[in-house]
Symmetry: C2
Subunit: 655 residues, 2 copies
């Protein structure tokens, strides 16, 4: 089973503490950092202290057994060979399904165990322990987590996951700097290094880019080839093609996601997985609320009433919150955006326009940030089930803002000019600005941040030391460089989302733009395809080189974004129909002539396709399902009798 190779993990987590003078560190038994290191070692972790320029780092690694025991203590659920998630037990380790690369725990599980171990160090003695840091003295109370205490006292600055240099270099070579095949990516390696959520993002991005090839080519064809007398049919058929393409794409993405789930040892189909995410958490909640196990089956009707009340109050809260957001967008943002678009049209001088745009950009920065904050506050009052569900709720709310912000100007221009050429100009402007500039900013800002932090750290150091030896101070260890790198955070706030929010947002806005105005400018798909091909490498580089290693997250689907993409398809059907009407109804008479009627019929047919197609192609490929089910069924059959005996025993125990 290769258990010999995985006796200990690499140094995967680091705790940052301020640097003390060597004298102070050597001095006393009461020193809290020394105590922390001792306690960590007692917990079974392997500790390495590194004195860096900006701070001191405690690098942690753990033997597999320590992680396993932590997982058992946390009652971590893990997939077993009978296809059921059971509580992990270290002595029954052979019952649990291993990762594709042969290791026992995934990166997320390892990180969770580390987290549990680090924050699980409590004062087990009967008295308070007095600790010292520099000159400050404080008490470590009974049953208090040492790390929480130290964080509150400002001693521990940060706990962050460390890059694994070997794997990182390997990924860099094989993925970020692999220029041979633009859309191929080593998804399994990405999964085992970054976890499910980031791997899902890159799998989606890769598939999206590959699929973009088809509309890009046919968009190019519509521009280059002269169809003669059939020219009037070109745009409608391109429209139908693009919509069908998008519907197919999303359905096949679901299938691909199912296959990924199966590959990563998540024994659910795509739709079950979504359901199961919601399932596990309320359970945990109700378990912790009720506490005692006995009284659970007694007051079933009261329990049912409580749950129903909870559910409906949750629905009402969600509706109220969404109403607030929608009202906020319509009453505050819409007039603002329209005012900007209008003023921009009215101003004659270029200079004024630039000023206006600058003002606008600053204003929307604040607006989206406030919107994000408000959303986060609102979401706190919803009883969302689990963190990923809250994150999804946030995505819907904030996407509303961005949707309005990105497209209302385009709609304004489209309706103002009713001129396809101007609309194309605006589209190109927007796409170039939003995509190219954003890519630049996205990649340069982290680097600038890092450089600045590095400069400050080194500078401070120099000042402190007043260069006694005259030698230049440099960042020598990897861990301190990583510490100075920015972390992978979302622009709207760190509470519920990480940097994936921005990356997905970019994709979704691009998808919306190319789909909703497909008829106005078929060439736009080529731009998008080119842009995405570079986006893959840029994002990979960003994650591998520019940023700290992100904290792994649980979700293994693209979650709310899938619904947003589907919503954008429906929007695209409507807007493209409008565009076609505008194109063919140049006199502005708006009569239901054969053309308009045909377009209306086409719209309805497309909507039907959109919603009917999923009935034809199942979300989970048959072979994935067969494998998943068969393996489980076989295991169940083989150990069926033993299982039954266990259950019978349990049953008699209950009676």
């Amino acid at each position: 089973m290769g258990e010999g190779q995985e006796e200990a993990t690499g140094f995967e987590v680091s705790i940052v503490v301020p640097k003390l003078s060597r004298a102070a560190a050597a001095e006393g038994g009461k020193d809290c950092v020394a105590r922390l290191v001792r306690e960590l070692e007692d917990a079974g972790l392997l500790v390495e202290r590194v004195r860096g320029v900006p701070a001191e780092f405690i690098k942690l690694s753990a033997p597999m057994e320590i992680l396993g025991r932590a997982a058992a203590e946390m009652q971590m659920k893990k997939l077993t060979y009978i296809g059921m998630d059971l509580q992990f037990e270290w002595d029954q380790v052979a019952a649990f399904v291993r990762q594709p690369d042969g290791s026992l725990f995934s990166w997320r599980e390892r990180f969770t165990c580390f987290h549990y171990l680090i924050y699980g160090i409590v004062n087990k003695t009967n008295s308070e322990i007095s600790l010292k840091f520099d000159d400050k003295e404080f008490d470590w109370k009974r049953n208090e987590s040492l790390l929480h205490r130290l964080e509150n006292e400002g001693v521990v600055k940060l706990v962050f996951p460390l890059h694994d240099e070997v794997k990182r270099k390997h990924l860099l070579r094989n993925w970020a700097l692999n220029w041979h095949d633009f859309t191929w990516q080593p998804i399994d390696e990405i999964y085992s290094y970054f976890g499910t959520k980031i791997a899902t993002y890159f799998a989606f991005l890769g598939m999206y880019t590959r699929w973009l090839f088809f509309p890009a080519v046919s968009g190019l064809a519509t521009q280059l080839i002269d169809f003669g007398s059939l020219q009037w049919l070109v745009l409608p058929s391109f429209f139908i093609f693009v919509i069908s393409w998008a519907v197919f794409f999303l359905q096949f993405w679901k299938r691909k996601n199912s296959a990924l789930l199966a590959r990563w040892g998540i024994n659910y189909s795509f739709s079950e997985y979504k359901a199961s995410c919601n399932e596990l958490d309320p359970l945990r909640h109700s378990l912790s609320v009720q506490g005692v196990e006995e009284n659970k089956f007694d007051d079933a009707p009261a329990e049912k009433r409580r749950l129903q009340r909870n559910e409906w109050s949750g629905v009402l809260l969600r509706i109220r919150n969404n109403a607030i957001i929608v009202l906020g967008i319509i009453c505050l943002q819409l007039p603002f955006e329209l005012a900007y678009a209008h003023l921009y049209e009215k101003t004659k001088t270029e200079a004024l326009r630039y000023v206006l745009t600058a003002l606008y950009l600053v204003a929307i920065q604040y607006y989206t940030r406030i919107g994000g904050k408000v959303s986060v506050i609102l979401i706190k009052y919803e009883n969302n089930q689990g963190e990923e569900s809250s994150a999804d709720s946030l995505i819907y709310k904030v996407f509303g803002l961005y949707f309005m912000q990105s497209y209302i100007g385009l709609f304004y221009h489209a309706s103002l000019y009713r001129n396809i050429l101007t609309l194309r100009q605006v589209l190109i402007q927007r796409l170039v600005v939003s995509q190219v500039l954003e890519n630049l900013i996205e990649n340069s800002i982290p680097y600038l941040k890092y450089s600045y932090k590095k400069y400050r750290a080194v500078h401070k150091k120099k000042e402190e030391k007043e260069s006694p030896s005259g030698k230049s101070v440099r960042l020598s260890t990897r861990v301190e460089k990583e510490y100075l790198k920015p972390s992978y955070t979302a622009s709207i706030g760190e509470e519920l989302e990480d940097g994936l929010f921005d990356d997905f947002l970019e994709l979704a806005l691009q998808f919306g733009m190319i789909m909703m105005f497909a008829c106005a400018f078929p060439l736009i798909f080529c731009f998008a395809a080119l842009n995405n091909a570079t986006e893959i490498r840029a994002d990979a580089l960003k994650l591998l080189v520019m940023l700290k290693r992100p904290v792994p997250r649980a979700a293994a689907t693209i979650g709310a974004w899938l619904n947003i993409f589907q919503f954008l398809i429906v929007m695209a059907i409507c807007t493209n129909c409008l565009l076609l009407v505008c194109l063919y109804d140049e006199e502005g008479k708006w009569r239901i002539e054969p053309g308009l009627a045909a377009i209306l019929i086409m719209e309805h047919a497309l909507l039907l396709i959109k919603f009917g197609f999923s009935h034809f192609v199942p979300e989970e490929p048959a072979w994935v399902r067969a494998n998943r089910v068969r393996y489980v069924a076989q295991a169940q059959t083989v150990c069926s009798k033993q299982l039954l005996r266990s259950i019978t025993k349990l049953d008699s125990k209950w009676e």
Copy 2:
């Protein structure tokens, strides 16, 4: 556990064999009926022979243990307390979840066991056994099923489930003849007597009738109350109300269905259940195809390719078949229906009209029957997974026929006259004819059939005996009466569907009619509500009194009909918008004036509501989910260690 009470079932199954003269029966050991009875007794069944007027009946009952052992032999899967379906084992019976009424097996499981036991009687000796029936002699080959042989020889005429007189009387009193509360029904009792599928139908019918109250009242209000200057707003708002009502209704039905699943010990959520139905069968299929267990994990890529090929050929076949059906409907049925509608309009004399209608009715009878046959043939070439999946496929195809047949005439009238009053007349005609007449026919035809059969049986008897004693021959036993009753079959053929097809079809056509023409005639909802209230009792009476007890079926949702109802809602959005346009655009100018634009916007908003609503209200109520998950989780936690040990052992066995 009350196992003492359920030591044997009642007489639940009967085999019908021709009556022999007493002399012949007494005569020899070679008599095949006597042999059958002996073999049945050897299999552990309790046998009672009843000599009736039309034939002889072998009534069967079974001790619970015999059924249990049969279930174990069949490798029947059954829900255990850890929430996993495992193979039934008689000695571990305490591990399996019991029915709500405390019995171990549900009616369907019992019937399956009976079926297995009866047809499982094979010639285990090494030689052929010679059997005699009347004068005919035939051989019972080695390893041949006795019952199949006897069926082929025409000895066994029928195997059918028997009514349970006590429960039937109880249901009759409490349900079919309970006139106090029109929509209340003892669903649990219906479930334990008829099985999941029929219980689901009645639960749906009851809920639909209860919910119809709201639009019925508001439809009445639109007709009775004069809204003064706001009169023009009445129809659009009624339209919006009705569509929202329907969307809510179907979503809440899903929730109710989830609750029912939980109550009936089916440990799946609503969407999982649908998925799981498709899951189990390909597994069984691939197991039986492969046979050997070892080579299963070896050629994974070949296996994957095979499954993918299967899946896509299945999709293509389904698309082709549906295309054939759609073409058949459009090219054959549509002209026919239009021709009828047109001719009906053109003919002046009443008499000719009646002739025409009679011809039409005969023709469509044949047309639908041929359509059903063709569909069944087509479906045989699809690789549908499991019987219920084939049945669903059939429903979609045949519903297309009925949809065209029921509504195309209405559309023709609506578009021909563009007159709301004529349309109303036609609607009332159709509704009265289709609903009231159908109800009458549905209930009288079985009775007439029964009477005719009874008359024939008695008459034949009389002739044979030539009334030796002069006393009148009568049907004295219950079982012979039941034998003469018609069975619960679908009008389109018995292959894949039973009588539920007709009942659901009636509901769906009614739903389509009231929804699609809601704006033309709001009062129609009152008719529908009244009709459905009687429909519940009529259907209950039909099942309890008129017909043989139906063979229980596996499905526990309304399956394809749910999708058809949802499709009808979408259709209703479109047709009502058209109706509103016709109503408000009386000059026939068809201009996009504010009114038409508003209607278009309303249409899109409603479509959005239709497809967005399900995101807000989950399909499974929180309390159902919590109960389901918690119970399982608790059991899993308690016996987790034992399970793990079992799996580990299994694992080491594999290596």
